[in-house]
Symmetry: D2
Subunit: 372 residues, 4 copies
């Protein structure tokens, strides 16, 4: 007999369930990140596989995984040219995985983005074309065709795992002439700086040098639970800062490079988006001097699902914490600042040690404090 899959989801979310709390505990809660001024923050995993290429699950599972982890958008980017299950799934239509995901998501609030993975050996490598209208049209011997066709369809295209050692034995990405041309032609717009468990500083350097959108993806083939959640991790995601929560707005934001790639406590993005994001992650609750002292007590809450690591950059020292300290995901901490004299107003300045705006470059975030 079979229970409809959405029932499993309901059972899971049913707070009264004798074990769901423990489950919540074991898994950490869903991914959570605040919006930033002017934009909605959309949690996206735009590089995934199912049985329709070399993955091991039906598209329905990908939809449920995304709902459980609280994502806003996913794309099932099956390899166009690599179909190891062809013998059993002799599907001529490369759009099928997308259609099945759409169907599964019909009654849920999840954006399904139509995508495909253009799969070539180095130096061309792998690239995802998302926001396409017909995957079949991307199939061609000539590697230039899928990129040209993707552009024709208005797709956003990004380079996958540039540092992958199977394609670069020293783990350093090399931008090929082919790719330089694609960029010149406006046929390549983004680059993965985080793929699966791996962050490559060199990929970030390329993103900045060639003005490519910064991406982070799970590239999942098996189960999100086995690869990430049960180890206490979340999947890597691309946070996209969109005018509204829609596919149209998401596409626009990607083309404009409004992203931050996140994997657990690692944040990678351009300062104009990463700094506001980190600033929004921390809520300032109470700012008051300890009676009869010049020590300012500040209650900070981390409203995100990532542990955040900071280093004091103020002229003042802390009373109870060392300069380097963590605010765990969803928790509050108390900071005691020795301001030497009572201040009416001052800036809390912290370097985010887990965040990068460029290789080895961590941003400093500032919050204005107004003591009671």
């Amino acid at each position: 007999m079979k229970y409809p899959s959405f029932l499993i989801l309901i059972a899971l979310l049913w707070s009264g369930d004798a074990n769901s709390q423990d489950h919540q505990h074991a898994y950490g809660k869903a991914l959570t990140f605040p919006d930033i001024p002017g934009f909605k923050t959309l949690k996206c995993d735009l590089h995934q596989h199912t049985v329709f290429s070399d993955g091991e699950v039906w598209p329905s599972i990908r939809v449920m995984e995304a709902l459980r982890e609280g994502l806003d958008a996913i794309s099932l980017t099956e390899h166009l040219e690599y179909q190891p299950h062809r013998e059993d799934i002799p599907h001529p239509d490369r759009n099928r995985s997308y259609q099945l995901a759409l169907e599964e998501a019909r009654d849920h609030d999840l954006l399904i983005i139509h995508g495909s993975e253009i799969t070539r050996n180095a130096p061309i490598g792998h690239s995802n074309a998302i926001f396409i209208s017909d995957a079949n049209a991307l199939l061609d011997e000539n590697a230039e065709v899928p990129f040209r066709e993707a552009k024709k369809q208005g797709a956003f295209v990004f380079w996958n795992h540039p540092a992958w050692y199977a394609q670069n034995p020293d783990g350093n990405p090399i931008l090929s002439d082919f790719q330089r041309t694609r960029i010149k032609n406006g046929e390549l717009h983004g680059i993965e700086v985080i793929n699966t468990f791996d962050y490559a500083e060199e990929s970030l350097a390329l993103a900045l040098e060639h003005n490519l959108t910064i991406m982070g993806t799970s590239d999942i083939h098996g189960l999100i639970d086995w690869d990430y959640l049960e180890k206490g991790n979340h999947r890597p995601v691309t946070l996209v800062f969109a005018k509204e929560r829609s596919a149209r707005s998401l596409r626009e934001a990607l083309f404009e490079g409004r992203t931050v790639a996140v994997y657990n406590s690692l944040f990678v993005g351009r300062p104009e988006f990463l700094v506001p994001l980190l600033k929004a992650c921390i809520k300032i609750h109470r700012v008051a001097y300890i009676p009869n002292t010049d020590i300012l007590e500040v209650e900070l809450e981390n409203s995100s699902s990532s542990d955040l690591l900071f280093e004091n950059q103020m002229g003042y020292t802390f009373y109870s914490k060392p300069p380097v300290f963590e605010i765990p995901a969803g928790k509050k901490i108390l900071l005691q600042i020795k301001t030497l004299e009572r201040k009416g107003k001052l800036d809390l300045r912290l370097k985010a040690l887990g965040a990068y705006t460029a290789p080895k470059t961590q941003p400093v975030v500032t919050w204005e404090l107004l003591p009671e």
Copy 2:
């Protein structure tokens, strides 16, 4: 990019992994049950589905799930007549799911049993034929054919979820004339008393009345992790008591009815197997009188992965525990028995409250105690 699935398993089992301990904790360890005198205890889940019928995963996932939970044998019993994914997997060969599981299990120590689910509406209902040689031969309009053919192939056949309310609105199984004939003809040999989350006392009654082998199965369609593990449960299994750990021996044991169905703390089986199993689950470690008292201290260890619930049936009372007490899975407890005078030898007699040899009938298990 893709990590070979066995790597995921290795990563998982790598004890050094920063989170694997917590994982172990969240999931409980693998299913563990001791052998009983004369037989190996094989942990089997012989009713499962994949994308080759109405399941949501590739057969490889079923193999990995089984390895993670420590099973000895599985069968992928795709519906012969119900193929909702036919449009994408237009497979004429009903043996394909079995072949793919075999391939995946090649390098692992897991028995893959060839099976299929014969799927009819009430009153015939659903039945699994396992240990078949060719599933395709079971396809026929006439419901009698698959049973006849299964017998010809030497299959062991059992009736699935007899109490399923979709087929019996009052949740009570009715043995149809069709099935009586199958039993008479030696074409039906077992019955599920536990399917998914459900135990039906009425199915147990039928098993005993018609001398059918007692079965417990997960009937999994989605993910074992979502339906069971993350809620703190294990999947239901059939413990089969086989002369050796082989498919041949497993088949023989099923035909001879040497089984106990287990779901977490629920045990259902014939007394000749259930009582030795429970007896073997409890190891007696230390039996000694507290100095200067007539109170006998007994250290009991539950070597199984199921919490075991007992009620005192001795003429003596306990010093520190109430008559009803639990020994958690894998843990030790200390029992203090007031024997009123020093005994050289006595029997520890406990009723297993979570075990059933017949509807509402719980077995009493005896261990001989020899005080130091």
Copy 3:
């Protein structure tokens, strides 16, 4: 430097604390039991020790332990005649421990009951006199004096750990002539059936035979955290059913025997109080038939802090659960009853396997079900 102890408590309860959740998890939450019709349910631990007899902490710690575990009333019952710390605390005033606890509790909502332990060897044994006005007046060579004096002061007196093997090598309590006389004289009113980790059925038998109030106490000397909480247990308590939450009302209830002794999942009490308590512990949330079936779904919530173990006593069987099942503390479960035909009204009848109204006698509790 020193932080005032109440700050520790605040820090602990500060929900924002980075670790308090885990702490809550590790410790289980405070003890929780519902009121019963006509009475408030007061959680009391009326047998404890501090450095003022043979305990290892200052009275302030006992007050904080009680507040952390959510108790309503405690009594520090120092041994009158056993003062191993006399060399360092040469206190002539046996009321001192009480006074210090009162002081500590001044700003908290906790009832401090004035008590002392009258300490003799067998056959007289140990007894607690609580609700006394002056402990010093109970000091006397002659064992009859403290009992007579306690009665004069209006004290409620109960016999401690009657089965303690240090005083009864076979672990069986013997009611001495001395005690029979005390009972006859109205100088002994209660008896511990649970002390520390130990429940004695024979003590319960004595309580019923001699109409003594049923008591459960921790008799703590060290730390509640080390002896109970960190092992996943709560301390034993006496639930007292009082007209209001006051010392006066608590005393009255004890004299009238309105108590249930509880240790984790073990409940011991007279049926007139134990049955209403168990009935109140379970909230019935939703009662509705599964569409197109005769299976009634009932959502049950355990509102207490004790896991509750039940066995089905209805004429009907369950669809998904075995006859014996647990409702974990604070959790909900779904019961599916096969009523064979649609009922407008029926009784849910369950035996509480962890509850005793007499040795080996478990009560059956009934809840009326009105299907939607």
Copy 4:
């Protein structure tokens, strides 16, 4: 009735206990730090209080707390001049707390150091004299006397919580003329840089400027479990690097300044001891290139009970980790270094972000790697 306290300890350590595992889990294990070349690493908490000054427990509890947390040495430093419990413990002998701790520790492997807290208001403040022979001789109106007497007794003396805002409203320690004289006279040898939850960079600066031994202490008054363990923390300790595990050797090491103060992930000490300690904390397990790549895989194990936070200082980048990464206490991680070409030998260079050798100064630690 009472269970001897050592039984509680045994019960706790009894690995078979149904809940001890969870307990271990909830509490984290004992404090663990490796020895460094030439020295044994002794875990010491040399500033604690009991009921004999303003603490809330008997000395026996302090001994058990220390054993449970795996300490090597403790000192009960009662305030000489502040005895809030004098009314109940009118003890003229200030050595009593030490004697009772000695007694309790008789059968355990724990060093009990005789100490007292010299308690004055600012600018003199509080100081601990340990390794004294008679505390009573330190009692005097004149603040110079206890220091002179302590020196006469061969005591090691350190300044307590110099930054405490109750004595310095701006939280900055000021070294008074009185203290300068004590240092000049060889009557003051150490300084707390960590006290309770507080680390003061300014105290570290003073330690370095005046060549004082760096100390970290809990200054516990209540319960270690409530203030530290249940929040997921360990108490602050002073790691003392002694020639052997003896009081004599411990004293010598303190006078020679061979210490590191540790509170959870915070390490404060002189580079000559802090760097070898951090180096010893990390065991290098396997160093091998990934086949067909120039990526060197290094398995690192953190053998300490503190999570360790590092930042890459090599010329090479990592394949899978960002430059800033953590190795959780007792866990292993896999580092993948892109060495660009195959190396026969190279240095792993990491900055320890949670460690300080001077205010805002973090040490770089080097490990030699020899690829297989």
